[in-house]
Each structure stands twice: as C-alpha cells, then as structure tokens.
Assembly symmetry: C2
Homo-oligomer: 460 residues x 2
C-alpha cells in the first residue's frame, strides 16, 4: 500500500533550534543497525537491551569526533510507531543535529516526512486517525484548555463517540437490510416511529458536535483579537501592557507601526492572538497606506475587536471613527470600545457610546482596568461553549465529515418519514457511517492520509 | 561552599519552543523521589534500574492526565552532573513542558539557574572549567569550524596546554624557591641562560594563544558583515540572494529597510552575520535618519564591509560614496566594493576603484559572481588563522587570563635578565600560574563561577 513503509526514517524530534540536549529519532526495521554504524564499536549497541540507555561517541566519516551522546533502542511492537526505533540524545547545537541526520542518511536512513512517525503508528494500529491528529494538536497546544481538548481526543474521546454512533447506525442498517431480504413478504422488523426517534437522536448528537467546533476552533487556533484605532491612540502600548513585554517598537511618532504584529497571550487558560495594527488615517505615504489596508483585513479576520479611542477626543471624532469601524464588523464578532489614556483625560466624552458596544475606560500606560478587559474577553469566549456536551470538535477535517454525516442522516430520517423503501434509508445510513469511518481512519486512502500527516511537524 | 548544592534542580533541556518531544531534566539527591511523585504508582520508578527507560503517565494534582512520557533515572556518580539525575521525555508542547516543571517544583524541586547542571558537573569533578565552558560553546556552535574548536576544547585541548604550561612554571618555581632556601650560601641550581630560554618559550606559547583569539573569536561569534550602499542599490536583494530566502522585505520604494536586520549564513564551514542596513542618504524622515545613524554604527562593528555601488552610477557618484565610507573604516576591517546590477549595466564606470579596495561586479538579482564574493569572504577569514599552532582561543575570559599570565611571564623573564633575586621571579611565575589555574578552574571563587555559568543556557 505504501511504497516507503520498509524504509528506515530519521528526524530531529526535539523543538528546532539550540538547546542543551536534542533528540534524533529513527524508526524502521534497520534503525538499530543504521544507528550503530555511527559508533566505533557497533556491536555494543546491537547487543544492548531494548530500553536501556547507552553512552556513546559518534564519529564522522573522517574519524573526527562529532559528539558524545546517549542512545536507546526499542524493539517492535514496543515503540511509538510499533516498529524498531532508536532515539539519540545529543548536544543541542544545530550543527551537531544536522550532522547526525546526514550521517544517518549516509548509512541508509531516509529523512522522515512531516508526521511520518505518527503515520506509521496509525498504519501499525497503535492509534486511530483522530488520535494521531490529537497528538499533533497536543504538541501544538499552548493553553490549558487547548491541551485538555487535545488530550481528551488523544485518549479516544472522539473515537469513542464515533464508535458509538457507528454502532447505532450499523444496527439500524442491519434491521433495514434484513427487511429487504424479506422484501416480498412486506414485513417491518423495525418500528418506524422508533427509527425516526433514533435517527433524530443521531442528528442531534452530530449537530452538537458541529456546533461545538465554534468553541473548539477558537480554543485551538487562538482567538484573533484586532487592536484598532487612530495613530498614536496607544495600540502598541496596550499590546505591550497585555504582553508585559516590549515586543512592539513604541515611539511618539504617529505611524511607527508599519507591519501588523501578532502576539500570543493566555488569559484564564485561553489563547488569544493579539494583532497590533497600523493606525487608521489618510496618508500619502505608500507604505503606510498599505498598512491601513492590512488593518481592514485584520479586522475582517478577527473575532474580537478592541476599538481604541483617545479619552481626549471630541465626541465628533470618536463617533466618526466608531461608526466607520462598526461598518466593517459582523454580528459574529465581539466589539469592545476602549477609552484609553483615562489617566490623563481632561474631560469626559459627553456622548454615549454604549449603544455601539460595551465601553471600558482604560489606561494602557498605567494598566488601569486591563483586568476587566481580560475578563470580558475570556467570558465572551466561554459563552461560545455549549453546555449540553463535553465533546468538542477542534479539527476542520472532522467538522466537514460530521457535517457530511449529518446531511446523510437527515436524508435517512426524511426517507423514513416519507415511507420510502428501506434500501434508500440503508444507503443514506451507510454513507453517514462512511464519513465517520474517515474520521477515525477505518476508511482511508493514501491521498487523505498524505494530506493529514503533511500538516504534522517533522519528527512526529 | 554553595548554599544550593543540596537542592534538587529541574529545567527544560531541549531547545525552547514546540516540537515532537521535549526533555525535562532533574539533578540532585532527591531527583528520583521527586519525579516519581508525578506518577500514580511512584514505586515503579523508584524500583526500576538506572538507565532503563520507563513509559509512564503524568498526572496533575486534580487527577487530570497531563501527558504520557518516557522517563529514565541515573544514579550518582554515573551521570552528567555526577549526582542522581532524571530525564523525562514528554510531548513537546510548551504547555506540557511548563506544567511538568511546575509539578516538579510543587514536589520540592527548584528551577535550575542557567548553567547549573554544568556547574554541578564541574564542582563534582566531572570536567574542568574550560571544558564546561566548551560544552556551552559546543551547543551554541552553528558552523563546522566553530564546532571543531568547541569540541577540541571540551575534549581538553586547552586544559592539556594549561596543564603543561603550569607544570613547566611549577618546575621553575621549585628551582627558584630551592635556591632561596639555600639563599645565604649563594648557590644557583638553575642555569640563568636556560631559565631565560624557558620563560621565553612560555611567553611565546602564551603569545600564540593570545594571537589565535582573533581567528577563534571570529569563528565563534560569526564574522559581522555590513552591507552598505545608497538607497535602492540592492542591499536587501543581495542579503536575500546570499540567504536564498525572503527574510528582508524588498520593495522598489527607496528607504524600505528601516531596521537593521541580521542574518546568519555559513560559507565554507564559517559563520557570517550579515547585516542589512538602511540606505545612506540625506533625509528629513526622522525614522530614516535614525536608520542611517545605525548604519554607521554597524559599519564600525563589522569586520567585513560590502560596499555596494549601482553599475549605472556616474564615476563621481561612486567616488563620493566610496570615499565617504572609506573614512569610516579601519585597517583591521576588510572592505569589498561590489558593483551591483551588472546584468543591466548600460556602460562601465571609467574610473578605477581598485585603489580603494578589491572590486567585484555582481548581480544580486541574477546571482552573478556571488560565488566569487563568498570565496573572497572565507579566504579573508582563513587568513586570520595562525599557521604555527592548532590551539585556538575562543573565549574572552581565557584571553584576558592568558594576557595576564603573559604579562607576569614577561616580568619574570625581565627579572631574571636583570639578575634580580629569585623571590621576585618566583612571585611572578606563581602569578602566571594562578591566572592559568583560573582558566581551568583549579583556582576559582563563587563570584567567578557565578558569572561564567550565568551565560549558559537554562537546562545545561
């Protein structure tokens, strides 16, 4: 089925860059033999027990020492991939890491494709497809809630739900198909009312999962937050205050922020992606104009928009700006108006802005009310969460397949209600099952697998 | 001597960031006990053999699963630090990494200071000080030559030289001090001519090491290369062509590059730090003016200056610019004149520029002659290398101590020549020995050690 499955693969599995220690991983039948060739006395490693750490010196072809390392081997099926595997723990310089890989390649290993270790684990039955995908999500998760969702999926929460749903569908299908066998006798084994109830229950459960994606996706990818306002209103200062960091260059010269920066911040275990934007004003500077256009694009992409107004603006200035931005915002987005520089406000705006969006008076400089701002943002995200189910979809691919399954279920349900022949119903149910099977990987093809694992990081 | 030496420390030892697998390391007498408390059944890990990998599930306090990991323990003195140690191989999400650290801290571990593992290895006699420093250099090395120098030092090349030099000094000192014991009898055990020869040999050897630093430092830190020229001459394009990458934003609008970018590139196993600079011209734009000032600072810091001239410049324009830059350059710096846009040159510059610096006609856009440029740069660096010695100093601290030692040796040599009493000579020689002892750590104090290890990365 897969050309490369007999190859022994290798990759750097630790985060990229420099550190005290890095990990090089091999998987495939020849892992131990290939790794042992980097040593002066290969037999030491060939003979050592699986799972036992060994200190070793790695040499380059020219007999020069490359590094002193620890290494360990695992024997199939007792490894992550289910194949023979080796891990090498080397000094974490980029030079050493890349040289070890190139020595392994010289000795016959292939450089692993992204996700190839996980793909092998899936093909060898160590985990199903949604669990493999959860491993990638687990690694990418940077917040408490994101970690929890990925871990639940890795431990099989989605797999179990799918397996239950498919089981119920299979029972329905069996009933329908049994009837067809007795077709000419015109018997009905299945009570039609009960069939309608069961399909509606299935529709309800898949609906819940589909709905849960709104929250799940926000958790997984981070909630995009655009910080917008006129030049010099304090956008970069707010970003820095929220980050408690000096990432953005702040200056007193309006128009300093030319590029849109994006920074991650965790609030109450939730990940937000803060996007500082170029100040919006009319400008002849070409580069600055490009920045303003990008700001509008960022507003469109954001889920939360922090609209900043200078506390010393006139009512008219504030209203014009708010109305201008409000035009660009949809009902799905959460708009907050921040009256900034409250610490040096000379007088209050007399116009009421509350009708446009919730308003908070803050000072990005002194930190005033930034806690309230954080709380509003996290409450809004939590309001996306459904109370009815603990199952949360976070994966786009799963979403599409659940939607397809849901559509097929609705068709089946309608067919039953319309009194259509059992073979129509059974066909729809089989289709609904098929899509769920694609999620867990019971149904799969090389193209789909290729697309899934290509999104993994190298070394996983 | 050290308050914290009984504490068990922990840190992330893999490169920072996200990857398939990350490594958490503990060291100290309680390593095994503390790590075992993260498991449901601690006794499994307490009983397992040292060096044997164990699969385990790590729980948070609230009984929620944090991760599935591999872990291994090492028993003193058979570990990097010479103490009991544990390594945990977890999924490489930043969230999991930081949570495991925080669980270990709850169970009694302290977060390791930068370099604390290496410091303990030094204090426990696993390696001398210059070797510990070489471990840090090895990790930081990103080029073949940088790796070779660090590895030689880690394997004890500098330590051996120091040990030889100190041995010779000790013999001299013993002779001088023996004479002093017989002082009133006015005997001379040591032939003065021979003493002079030996001290001069020592001076010569320390001189060579001091001289080698010029090359060693360039290798270690990377050779700074400033790319300078008038706006729109193609500096960013050249940077990108050399990097074969799109790091710098290139546009047709003069003055696009506001910040000085710095990028690493390896040529012939040597590391260069390429610095793209803001175009030099008179401008009223405050931010751009700041950029030009920074360009002059970058020229001052660079060892190689690539001065770019547009092939379509007039002779006069080219000469004014070259003379202007030439004024800012010292004899220690390597200036190359690049005539860029050679692919679209309408006519040749008629003035000879060779008298100012070597000239190459290139096209950053088509890649024409960039190989020749790379070769000139690496040849220049290699010309800094001394042929006489294989020992190369790369460490500033070592340089200063070798200089001090050298000065003391010169004093000793002059004292002998001047026929001064043996106790003067012996005092100078003891001082010369003392400084070398500081390099290897035979002589050390907490302040010096603190300063050295503070520069290491966390987890090393």
């Amino acid at each position: 089925m897969f050309n490369d499955e007999n190859k022994t693969i290798c990759a750097i599995s630790s985060p990229s860059g420099v550190g005290a220690i890095a990990i090089i991983r091999l998987s495939g039948s020849q892992s131990t033999e290939i790794a042992s060739k980097l040593l002066r006395k290969p037999e030491r490693f060939l003979k050592i027990d699986a799972g036992k750490m060994m200190f070793a010196t790695i040499f380059l072809e020219n007999e020069q020492i490359l590094d002193e390392v620890l290494m360990v081997k695992f024997i199939e099926p007792h490894s992550f991939t289910g194949e023979n595997s080796v891990e090498i723990y080397c000094h974490g310089s980029e030079y050493i890491q890349s040289q070890i890989i190139s020595e392994l390649v010289k000795e016959g290993a292939s450089v692993a494709q992204p996700g190839e270790f996980s793909k092998r684990a899936f093909l060898n039955g160590k985990m199903d497809l949604s669990q493999s995908e959860a491993v990638a999500d687990l690694i990418a998760s940077s917040s408490k809630e994101g970690h929890r969702l990925a871990l639940n999926q890795m431990k099989g929460q989605i797999s179990n739900e799918i397996s239950e749903l498919r089981q119920q569908m299979l029972e329905l299908v069996s009933l329908m198909e049994l009837e067809l066998d007795f077709g000419e006798e015109d018997v009905e084994f299945a009570d039609r009312t009960q069939l309608i109830d069961i399909t509606e229950e299935l529709i309800h459960r898949t609906n819940n999962l589909i709905e849960s994606f709104k929250y799940g996706n926000a958790i997984k990818t981070g909630i995009p937050v655009a910080i917008v306002g006129e030049p010099n209103v304090g956008k970069s200062t707010l970003l820095n205050a929220l980050l408690k960091d000096d990432r953005a260059i702040v200056s007193d010269i309006p128009g300093t922020t030319r590029d849109s920066l994006e920074e991650l911040i965790i609030i109450d275990g939730l990940k937000f992606r803060l996007i500082d934007t170029a100040g919006i004003r009319n400008s002849d500077d070409i580069i600055e104009k490009m920045g303003v256009e990008r700001t509008y694009k960022n507003i469109a992409k954001a889920q939360v928009i922090l609209l900043m107004i200078d506390a010393n603006s006139t009512d008219k200035e504030a209203l014009i700006f708010i109305k201008n931005i409000k035009k660009k915002i949809t009902d799905d987005q959460y708009l907050l108006i921040l009256i900034n520089k409250n610490d040096i406000a000379k007088n209050e705006l007399s116009v009421s802005l509350k009708e446009y969006a919730p308003v908070i008076k803050i000072s990005a400089k002194t930190g005033e009310n930034l806690d309230s701002l954080s709380k509003l943002m996290s409450s809004w995200v939590n309001s996306l969460k459904l109370s009815e189910t603990n199952l949360i979809l976070t994966n786009n691919r799963h979403l599409e397949l659940f939607k397809n399954s849901n559509v097929a279920l609705i068709r089946a349900n309608e067919a039953i209600k319309a009194g259509l022949s059992g073979d129509f119903v059974s066909q729809d149910l089989r289709e609904a099952m098929y899509y769920l099977g694609e999620i867990s990987g019971q149904v799969s093809n090389e193209e789909v697998l290729g697309a899934i694992f290509a999104k993994f990081c190298i070394g996983k």
